[in-house]
């Protein structure tokens, strides 16, 4: 696809040739979607920083400091969480950005995200929640329906926020909603988890193939894709690093995708990563995935996903992108819940939104 942001991510050397107006647009699109740090890292790795305009170098230097802080922050928060949960005896598994930072993966470089994600066995959830509450983690959702929604149907507790440090945390017991079409094997995720030390305390992270499965289902099974190019880049970087480092990674990925019933989202993830970011997926690997999407679904997603994924310019919202995102939003909900429950959920949400609008008018 011809898009300046994609082109610069694929071929960072292009950044050395951009003019002022192109930079303005690029930074406006990259920054809100946490891609500025990624561009900055890519520029540094390519050795073209010297040839960039002074304003761009300043902004890259700023975001670089922010990323370094973010890394320290995630590590410190992870330690605090382990400390708070030390008496529960529950194994604590860190997910997403926190895991990437703890492992020092390539994907963590230039990645700004301050939220902490953990996963614990479902039968320990109550003890974990209590211990976290005692350590100052409070629920962000106070609405009774929201509480019910998360607790009965979702894969995580309602988000928590620390009352002094303001860090936001999601506590998962699996990686997809309980009501969804795909039910990953949470016990298998925990059983295969790898240990990681956090300032001397023991924690866990998903094993590499499971980590890719999680990133894939998060983006392509449980999301509307809207402007979430950064998550596709995560997948690209994870796959590229693991394929070069973990022997048998591709076989393992197909195997774990099958185990979790996630062949379809993993297919989408690899397909779009290869198409948009030139991820080196060896021939035959896509075809080897179980339960690939059918041709009609592939064609529809092929049209909608790239349009939805790319961040828009704030001053030029695109009608096509808005429609693609609306359709994908419906798709994500369709995949999330059975029709009856979906209808009930959407009507509750619509009624709440209407009430909020009415009360803001009067």
């Amino acid at each position: 696809m011809d898009d300046p942001l994609l082109e610069c991510l694929r071929d960072p050397a292009r950044m050395a040739r951009l003019g002022g107006p192109a930079w303005a647009g690029l930074m406006q699109r990259a920054r809100p979607r946490a891609l500025l740090g990624k561009l900055g890292r890519a520029a540094a790795d390519t050795g073209i920083e010297e040839s960039l305009p002074p304003a761009v170098r300043r902004q890259f230097a700023s975001v670089d400091r922010l990323c370094a802080y973010n890394d320290e922050h995630l590590r410190a928060e992870a330690f605090m969480v382990l400390h708070a949960l030390r008496r529960t005896g529950a194994p604590v598994l860190f997910l997403k950005g926190t895991a990437y930072a703890l492992l020092g993966l390539e994907v963590a470089r230039g990645r700004v995200s301050s939220d902490v994600d953990i996963m614990v066995p479902r039968d320990r959830l109550e003890a974990v929640e209590q211990a976290l509450g005692a350590a100052g983690w409070l629920s962000l959702k106070t609405d009774a329906y929201d509480q019910h929604y998360y607790r009965s149907w979702m894969h995580e507790l309602p988000p928590l926020q620390h009352r002094h440090r303001a860090t936001v945390m999601d506590v998962h017991h699996t990686i997809l909603p309980l009501t969804g079409r795909i039910r990953p094997d949470a016990a298998a995720l925990l059983a295969a988890a790898r240990p990681v030390a956090v300032h001397g305390r023991q924690a866990f992270v998903l094993e590499p193939a499971d980590m890719v499965v999680h990133a894939a289902v998060h983006l392509f099974q449980d999301g509307d894709l809207a402007e979430r190019l950064r998550e596709l880049l995560d997948i690209h970087e994870l796959v590229t690093e693991f394929a070069g480092r973990e022997s048998g990674f591709w076989d393992r990925l197909a195997e774990r995708a099958a185990l979790h019933g996630a062949g379809r989202p993993v297919w989408y993830a690899l397909n779009f990563a290869r198409r948009l970011l030139a991820t080196p997926v060896p021939p035959g690997r896509l075809e080897a995935l179980p339960s690939r999407p059918r041709r009609v679904a592939r064609a529809a997603m092929g049209r909608l996903a790239p349009v939805a994924l790319l961040p828009s310019l704030p001053d030029r919202p695109s009608a096509a992108a808005a429609w693609a995102r609306r359709l994908l939003f419906l798709r994500s909900h369709w995949l999330r819940m059975p029709p009856g429950l979906l209808l009930r959920h959407l009507s509750v949400k619509a009624w709440a939104a209407l009430r909020a609008r009415l009360s803001s008018l009067f």
Binding site: G20, A24, R31, P53, R65, P314
Partner: protein, 305 residues
């Protein structure tokens, strides 16, 4: 590159409508607006600043325009559009200049991590700078305006951009924002000062700006070294004078004034510790501007060696 004040107002307005890159040292800011109120105000307040070519890449992109929708029929409002929804509300259209200043402050404060940023005014004489920290409303801008009209260099009026390693401050002179009585105080103190129109009825009361001088803008590329820290305290009844300020208290006050201390981690702690450890730190209590200016002069003179 051309000085904004040297452009015909109509020419400048045309460029802002199309989008123009301004040098607001140390930053390049792309500004776009259809609002005449902003064109006129910026032509005056930023008269000594340079307009960079449109081929220049900007640090920040700020568009200030009317709000859309049917509400426009009831009230004409202005809003700054950056790239993410900014955390402030629209203001009446005539207050577009405030909208712009607010948006640029927000960009500087939330997106700059090359420098440790303190809410502080910085003024200098003979290459030695006085750091005047304070949250808004504590009198730092008024004191800054009073000093620059007495020949001090206007280094920064809102944010001190401190290099955590060298402890040098990069100049960031901007229109000095004065509120309510401060406007009359400064107009009385220095009748020659170039004040913008007063904006009445803003969320902070009446607001006006002091136009940065050519000397301030021309000197901006040169960083300064702080020589003393002065916490201002306007008090009509209290006893006027300088008082020493404890090192630990000063450290805590500076962290509270910093917008990005947290992000600097240990480097920020070391920088502020060195700053309060190496420099004389004082508080100045004063009932009026003349006393304040005298105390500032004494504060800097007392540190001559």
């Amino acid at each position: 590159m051309s000085r904004i004040g040297a452009l015909a107002p109509a020419d400048f307005a045309r460029r802002l409508r199309a989008g123009a890159v301004l040098a607001v040292p140390p930053f390049a800011v792309r500004v776009q607006s259809r609002l005449g109120a902003l064109h006129r105000s910026m032509h005056g307040l930023y008269g000594e600043f340079d307009l960079l070519g449109n081929a220049e890449a900007p640090d920040f992109v700020i568009r200030v325009d009317g709000t859309g929708g049917w509400r426009r029929l009831l009230r004409r409002q202005s809003m700054a559009y950056i790239d993410t929804p900014p955390p402030y509300v629209p203001l009446p259209e005539r207050m577009a200049p405030l909208m712009f200043e607010q948006a640029l402050n927000w960009c500087v404060a939330t997106r700059t991590f090359t420098h440790l940023i303190l809410h502080a005014a910085v003024v200098a004489r003979e290459g030695r700078a006085l750091l005047i920290p304070g949250q808004s409303g504590q009198g730092k801008s008024t004191l800054c305006a009073a000093l620059v009209t007495r020949g001090w260099r206007h280094v920064s009026d809102e944010f001190a951009l401190l290099d955590p390693r060298s402890l040098e401050i990069t100049a960031h002179p901007r229109p000095i924002s004065l509120k309510n009585q401060s406007l009359d105080v400064i107009a009385g103190w220095a009748p020659e000062v170039q004040l913008s129109e007063a904006h009445h009825g803003t969320p902070k009361g009446t607001v006006g700006y002091v136009r940065p001088t050519r000397a301030a803008v021309d000197a901006a590329p040169a960083p300064v070294r702080p020589a003393a820290i002065l916490f201002p305290r306007f008090d009509a009844e209290g006893e006027a004078g300088l008082a020493p300020f404890g090192t630990a208290a000063a450290f805590i006050a500076l962290t509270a004034c910093s917008v990005n201390y947290r992000e600097f981690g240990q480097a920020g702690f070391v920088a502020l510790s060195r700053l309060v450890g190496e420099l004389p730190v004082m508080s100045a209590t004063y009932p009026d501007t003349a006393t304040a200016v005298g105390l500032a002069e004494r504060a800097l003179a007392g540190t001559a060696r």
